[in-house]
């Protein structure tokens, strides 16, 4: 095939979008839009890396169009939100809306609700991203009170539009939550009646917890697979988080609407420390809850799919997921170790001791996954296995980095430095989470496309190494700067950390190169015609996951 033929029709013309079921198309739409938003976040990240190397040309009026201090902080606000909601949520939700019915061997409860999930999250993300880009509303994702309602720095209308975008994402999230739990518990038409409550108990871990106190003969069997249990438990945190963010959004919106109508509400009505506790409690349901639970669940799923074997120590794995869920509800105070008004007991118990459990639960998930892979040795080093191992390595690096900063003594000199956002946050997200997701994408690609053949293994290899080295490198250089006092969320104008920021930018460029290689490989695999066809309506039965042979 010529280059042009491959570009248009895909590798060996093996992909025909007309053979796809509506569910396959919907899942791939989630994946494509999720990857597009990943590209948004990656480009924004690279722009900020360039600012960090030398911000001076960017803040001088007129030297670089659209650049400036306000633009930088607008990007800084949108970047993590686009990464988490626009990219990760869409990739994860899309995969789980396919995998839960796939693993439970029944149709998704509502195809329509899944479609709404896609478009509300995609639309909501675009609204807050565009608002941040154009109007520079920049209170950061932390929204520390009363900054989001500081109308000396931000226009209330731009804030209201931003919050509306976030609210739309939360509506889509709520639809996802309902769809997942309904799919686990409902009886589809024509199927044998199932006991929904029993399935729910199994999914949430109640059955497993009761089994711990029963002898082996009286123990009830698990009605749902381990990955479905992980998805269900992570979804609990997703629901709680959506509630917290929606509530907080409404609170902020009240101040904005009042301001727009000429009434300035008193910001001291809301206690800043109480608000910070409340909001971090909600945010940590993502950072320390659903991300870790979903990731552990995906590791187990990928390990069993790659090996064809049961997950090692399955009962302990289920128990660890339940512990992680409880930990995620009680762990938020590690974000307030530098808040002197925060009670010492909360700092020690929630901030230090409960947080240390994340080392334990994630460490066990790491061990269990490796042991499962080991049991099937020898394994072929496929793309999905390589990326899975990369994801495991990412969390093995990032979780201990986080445990170090969740210490009262170390936090005094690490809080808000580049250490937090480098070796911990970016290594966890870029190496740990994203490589785990790439593992699932490489595995699902032939399943969802009915046998499309990957265009180039060399490009996939480059994607792996460039992403791994770029992600770890960027985190490492940011961390080195952080240990020497470089703060996050600010700019340095005198070249204080030039060498670290230059090397971090080079690593960031490697990440961009990895993304471009991946995108090119995928486009050449499915072809432009096929890629567009994914967005064309499918006439198939929405209840079918895969084409009927």
């Amino acid at each position: 095939m010529t280059f042009k033929d491959t570009l248009i029709d895909g590798n060996e013309s093996a992909f025909d979008h007309k053979t796809m079921t509506p569910m396959q198309k919907l899942t791939l739409r989630f994946v494509i839009i999720g990857i597009v938003y990943y590209a948004f976040a990656a480009i924004e990240g690279m722009l900020m890396r360039i600012y960090q190397v030398d911000p001076v040309p960017f803040i001088e009026d007129g030297v670089i169009p659209l650049a400036g201090i306000d633009q930088y902080f607008g990007i800084l606000t949108a970047h993590p939100l686009v990464g988490i909601f626009g990219s990760t949520y869409l990739l994860v939700f899309g995969a789980f809306l396919f995998l839960v019915p796939f693993l439970m061997k029944k149709p998704l409860w509502s195809f329509k609700a899944a479609n709404w999930t896609l478009w509300t999250i995609a639309g909501g993300t675009f609204i807050f991203w565009a608002d941040g880009f154009l109007s520079h509303y920049a209170p950061l994702y932390t929204l520390y009170w009363p900054l989001p309602a500081d109308f000396d720095q931000f226009h209330p209308l731009s804030g209201a539009i931003f919050i509306t975008g976030i609210a739309l994402v939360m509506v889509g999230t709520a639809l996802f939550v309902v769809n997942i739990f309904k799919t686990i518990t409902y009886t589809p038409e024509g199927f044998e009646k199932v006991d929904g409550k029993a399935y729910l108990k199994s999914a949430l871990g109640v059955t497993g917890f009761k089994n711990l106190w029963k002898d082996r003969k009286r123990q009830k069997e698990h009605l749902v697979d381990l990955p479905v249990a992980a998805i269900a438990r992570g979804t609990v945190d997703t629901a709680l988080n959506a509630g917290i963010i929606l509530f907080t959004g409404v609170l902020i919106l009240v101040y904005m609407v009042a301001e727009l109508f000429g009434t300035s509400l008193e910001t001291t009505t809301v206690d800043a420390l109480l608000y910070k506790n409340w909001f971090w409690w909600g945010l940590d349901l993502i950072a320390d809850g659903l991300v870790l639970i979903f990731v552990a669940g995906t590791w187990y799923l990928m390990a069993s799919l790659i090996t064809g074997k049961r997950v090692y120590m399955q009962n302990i794995a289920r128990a660890a997921l339940l512990v992680e869920l409880v930990v995620s509800w009680t762990v938020w105070s590690h974000h307030l170790l530098s808040d002197q008004g925060q009670p010492a007991i909360l700092k020690i118990v929630s901030g230090e001791l409960v947080t240390a459990f994340e080392l334990i639960t994630q460490g066990l998930a790491f061990f269990i996954t490796l042991a499962t892979l080991w049991s099937a040795r020898p394994l072929k080093l496929t793309n999905e296995l390589k990326f899975l191992l990369g994801g495991l390595l990412g969390f093995a690096l990032a979780v201990p980095a986080g445990i170090l900063q969740a210490d009262i003594g170390l936090n005094r000199v690490l809080h808000n430095t580049q250490w937090v956002v480098g070796p911990h946050v970016h290594v966890a997200i870029l190496v740990g989470l994203t490589m785990t997701l790439y593992s699932a994408i490489y595995y699902l690609l032939p399943v969802l496309t009915n046998g499309a053949k990957l265009y180039s293994q060399k490009l996939a290899n480059f994607h792996f190494w460039a992403h791994l080295v770029g992600g770890i490198g960027m985190g490492a250089f940011m961390g080195m700067a952080g240990l020497q006092g470089m703060l996050r969320r600010t700019l340095y104008f005198e070249g204080e950390y030039f060498i670290y920021m230059f090397l971090a930018a080079l690593s960031g460029a490697l990440l961009i190169a990895a993304l471009l290689a991946f995108l090119y490989n995928i486009v050449m695999t499915v072809g432009l015609k096929g890629a567009l066809g994914i967005f064309q309506k499918s006439d198939g039965d929405v209840r079918e996951l895969l084409p009927v042979e």
Binding site: I69, F73, H136, A138, P139, Y144, W145, P146, L147, D150, Q153, F154, T268, D271, A272, L273, K276, I316, S338, D339, Q340, G341, A344, L353, A356, L359, I360, G363, L364, F367, I368, L370, W374, S375, R377, P378, L379, K380, L381, L389, L392, L393, A396, L397, P400, L404, D407, I408, G409, L410, R412, V413, H415, N416, P423, L483, G485, L487, R489, T490
Partner: protein, 193 residues
């Protein structure tokens, strides 16, 4: 006396060694799972030993830092400590309002910094001339934000906001705002205690 430079060097060494170790473990593991050979069963004992190791590691970190980092017990029990000197600092409109142009501190004095905010959430950090951090804390509005610190080295330090407070916050730096002296003078001569 242990200060933040010593602590962060210690952390750098420990974490770097860990990074090398985990890279080697993953490399060796990846090499071996692709090799032929009957897989030996992963014994349950190994799993439970690893779980126990994680518990001990997670908990012991805080015990070790409490007993080796001098500012941790000071911070936890600061309500019971009487400071030798106190500075009341207010922050408003993205500016630090210091009681004096330069805050003068005698070596080994116990100093209480009470920082308040009239509007937003800020940060309060002390930085050396080479930009490395001595300490920082959050400054929440509507309450006293107190930290007690002992200084054991002469130096001139800058104050910088360590929390994002909007696009105007990046310029919240007061250079050479704090001076510590007397550490090179013997205790008998009225210097360090």
């Amino acid at each position: 006396m242990v200060d933040s430079t010593t602590v962060l060097w210690g952390q750098t060494i420990v974490y770097s060694l860990y990074v090398v170790a985990i890279l080697v473990v993953m490399g060796v593991f990846t090499y071996n799972i692709t090799r032929d050979g009957k897989p030996p069963t992963v014994k349950d004992k190994l799993f439970y030993t690893f779980a126990g190791f994680l518990v001990v590691l997670g908990m012991s970190l805080h015990v070790v830092t409490y007993n080796t980092i001098p500012w941790v017990p000071t911070d936890v029990h600061r309500g019971d400590i009487e400071a030798d000197k106190e500075f009341a600092i207010n922050v408003a409109d993205h500016e630090f309002q210091l009681p004096e142009a330069r805050l003068m501190i005698d070596c080994e004095d116990t100093v209480l910094f009470n920082v308040t905010s009239s509007d937003l959430t800020y940060g309060f950090g002390l930085f050396r001339q080479d930009n490395s951090m001595v300490f920082q804390m959050q400054v929440g509005p509507g309450r006293d934000n107190e930290i007690i610190w002992e200084f054991h080295k002469n130096g001139v330090y800058s104050i910088r906001s360590t929390e994002y407070s909007g696009p105007l916050g990046y310029q919240m730096i007061v250079k050479d705002a704090v001076e510590v002296s007397g550490c090179d003078v013997a205790a008998g001569e009225g210097g360090a205690k």
